[in-house]
């Protein structure tokens, strides 16, 4: 078990690409951290530097109390699970799981006992003598997990381990991995571009964009308090609505909506509203033109526009809806404002309830 600390760790590939700009953060002992971001943002690069598969260009990486920059992957006390499993095709499941121990000169009977134990945890006991080609995708993934857990490493690294599985299996494995990590209490870093995995598995999420860390926070912080328009639009399905609005005399004005808000910004701002913070309300201040209703069983999504700005509404109640004009109201205490130029979040506060106009207050109530 160990704490992992990155101190201004940076990666420049030989071809000059700066895949990771200096990143500093600390992962606590036993924590499950998810690295998330769009394709090509440097998630794998960061993970592979921690694993020792990629050289660190600058900065210090420590696992536990050692600086491990110059250690071989095998000496870093880590285990890694790869996207395509990377099982040795010619070895049985038993040998695959035990190979790392064998290389560490562990006695045969100890290996066998550990393999059995790992297999029992992962429900693989009956497959121990099969070759990887004779297993299903989920089983192979479990073997890869087994290979990681037999060694009792200080740190688990996962690089999109579930992206080759179908949706159902992915949900199941997600829960299994999370439960296993809880049970073993091993510090884990998990790379994914699936935000559902990120939200559900993480103790903390690190959002990367173009090699830079956009935000580090708990899933709830990331979701409700996005630090930038990038995070706001990346996390959440459907993502946060981002609308061009204006601050006029300490009042936020967007279409028919005007909300008194305290902020330092003046003039144009970006207004962020989560789709579930909008709701149908015949008396509401916003008039939306609904173009499309998406029926998703438990809830529905209305896609449409106000003036020229597209937005999405998440409806969980069972009101009949059709396309066409529709009036909406909005929950104001979850509004986010962003700088339209930099995309960074603006500090805002709602005025005291006593001062706020009746309209806004009644909105807050539901």
């Amino acid at each position: 078990m160990a704490q992992v600390t990155l101190d201004a760790v940076r990666k420049i590939y030989p071809n000059g690409v700066e895949a990771v700009t200096p990143a500093s953060f600390t992962i606590e002992d036993g924590e499950f951290v998810v690295l998330v971001g769009p394709s090509g943002c440097g998630k794998s690069t960061l993970l592979r530097m921690i694993a020792g598969l990629e050289e660190i260009s600058e900065g210090d990486l420590s696992i536990g109390d050692r600086i491990v920059n110059d250690l071989d992957p095998a000496d870093r006390d880590i285990a890694m699970v790869f996207q395509n499993y990377a099982l040795y095709p010619h070895m049985t499941v038993r040998k695959n799981i035990g190979y790392g121990l064998k290389n560490r000169k562990t006695p045969k009977d100890v290996i066998e006992a550990k393999v059995q134990e790992a297999a029992a945890i992962l429900n693989l006991t009956e497959y121990l003598d099969r070759k990887p080609a004779q297993l299903s995708g989920g089983q192979r993934q479990r073997v890869a997990m087994g290979r990681a857990i037999v060694r009792d490493p200080a740190l688990f690294l996962f690089d999109e381990p579930l992206s080759n599985l179908d949706a159902k299996l992915r949900n199941q494995m997600r829960i299994e991995i999370k439960a296993l990590q809880r049970r073993l209490g091993v510090t884990s870093i998990y790379v994914t571009h699936d935000q559902v995995e990120a939200m559900t598995m993480a103790d903390r999420i690190i959002v990367l964009n173009g090699g830079k860390i956009e935000q580090i926070g708990t899933p709830s912080e990331i979701y409700h308090d996005p630090a930038s328009t990038f995070v706001a639009s990346f996390m959440g399905a459907p993502p946060m609505n981002l609308l061009a609005a204006e601050m006029i005399d300490r009042v936020l004005v967007f279409a028919g909506l005007s909300v008194p808000i305290w902020t330092t910004a003046r003039g144009p701002v970006q207004l962020g509203i989560r789709p579930e913070d909008l709701r149908l309300d015949p008396e509401g201040p916003l008039q939306m033109e609904v173009d499309l209703v998406e029926e998703l069983g438990a809830h529905r999504l209305l896609h449409g526009h106000i003036d020229d700005q597209r937005l999405t509404v998440h409806l969980s109640e069972d009101t009949p809806v059709q396309t066409g004009p529709m009036r909406l109201s909005c929950r104001v205490d979850n509004l986010c404002l962003f700088d339209p130029e930099t995309g960074r979040r603006l500090v805002t506060a709602l005025p005291d309830a006593a001062e706020s106009p009746v309209e806004a207050q009644s909105e807050t109530a539901w």
Binding site: A74, F82, Q83, N103
Partner: protein
């Protein structure tokens, strides 16, 4: 159900002749005969006495001299020193074929391993240099090769017979292509599992290359077995003769006014054909499996 059965019976009771199939088979049969008949002719002459063969040429008659010819071919020495019986030539050929194939595979694999997996400076250039030696077969460099072999005192030794032929651009090239198709993650997983370069090579790469090795073995064994020019140059002692050489020698020795020993020479020819065929048959299933199975 009814439909299906009626269809079956109909197609059975009225076998329609497809002309395209007839043509296909005719071509295949003609090809097979073309390959087999000469062998059968050779085989036939090994069963009759030399006089018979001399008189009638190959015929359809199966004689009674098979045993005798076999005994002469295998155990009776020809030549002057009397040390090159069929047995010893077979032995020499096997040593050459196997040594040649194994040597080429080992060297080719190791060269490819270095080129693919290590960040060597000029690795690409080294590879292409090796590759261009494909343009320099033994025949082109035979004089310098002979001179070096001779100066090292390796004439009439197995080392001299095998080692100068071993460096192989072909094997290196095939193994390089194969190694490059092995997923990167496998290497990384092995590194994390604590397998160093030697362990990775032996524990992972060699077993993965099995089918490739089998394919190479077939090709190289047959190639080595059929070597004629090089063995002729470096072996002067009759005890070092290979089969391919020895057959020629029997015919040579008997160019006087004696009756040529057809039975004996042809028996040796048959014996010379068997091991390569056996190797192909033995490794074939692996070979095909390697080309069709793609679970890496």
């Amino acid at each position: 159900m009814a439909d299906i059965t009626s269809k079956f019976t109909r197609s059975r009771s009225l076998p329609r002749v497809k002309w395209s199939q007839v043509v296909d088979h005719a071509i295949l049969i003609a090809g097979a005969l073309f390959m087999i008949v000469p062998l059968l002719m050779v085989l036939q002459t090994t069963t009759t006495s030399d006089i018979e063969t001399m008189r009638h040429g190959p015929s359809l008659m199966i004689g009674t001299e098979l045993d005798d010819n076999f005994r002469k071919a295998m155990f009776e020495a020809s030549g002057f020193s009397g040390e090159n019986s069929g047995m010893s030539m077979l032995m020499n050929s096997l040593i050459l074929g196997i040594g040649f194939a194994v040597g080429k595979i080992v060297i080719g694999m190791m060269a490819a391993y270095a080129i693919v997996y290590f960040r060597l400076r000029f690795a690409t250039m080294a590879f292409w240099l090796i590759f261009t030696t494909l343009l320099l077969p033994l025949e082109v460099r035979i004089l310098p090769s002979y001179e070096i072999t001779q100066k090292l005192g390796l004439l009439n030794t197995y080392t001299g017979l095998i080692v100068p032929l071993i460096a192989s651009a072909t094997a290196t090239f095939f193994f390089r292509q194969f190694f490059r198709s092995v997923p990167e993650e496998l290497v990384e997983a092995a590194r994390i599992d604590g397998a160093g370069p030697v362990k990775f090579f032996i524990d992972v790469l060699v077993p993965l290359s099995q089918t490739m090795i089998a394919a190479m073995f077939i090709i190289m064994f047959v190639y080595g077995w059929n070597q004629y020019l090089w063995p002729t140059m470096v072996t002067t002692e009759e005890s070092m003769y290979t089969l391919v050489r020895g057959i020629k020698q029997i015919v040579q020795v008997l160019e006087g006014n004696e009756i040529p020993q057809y039975g004996r020479a042809n028996m040796l020819a048959i014996i010379a054909v068997i091991p390569p065929v056996a190797v192909v048959i033995f490794f074939q299933s692996w070979f095909v499996k390697g080309l069709t199975d793609s679970d890496k």
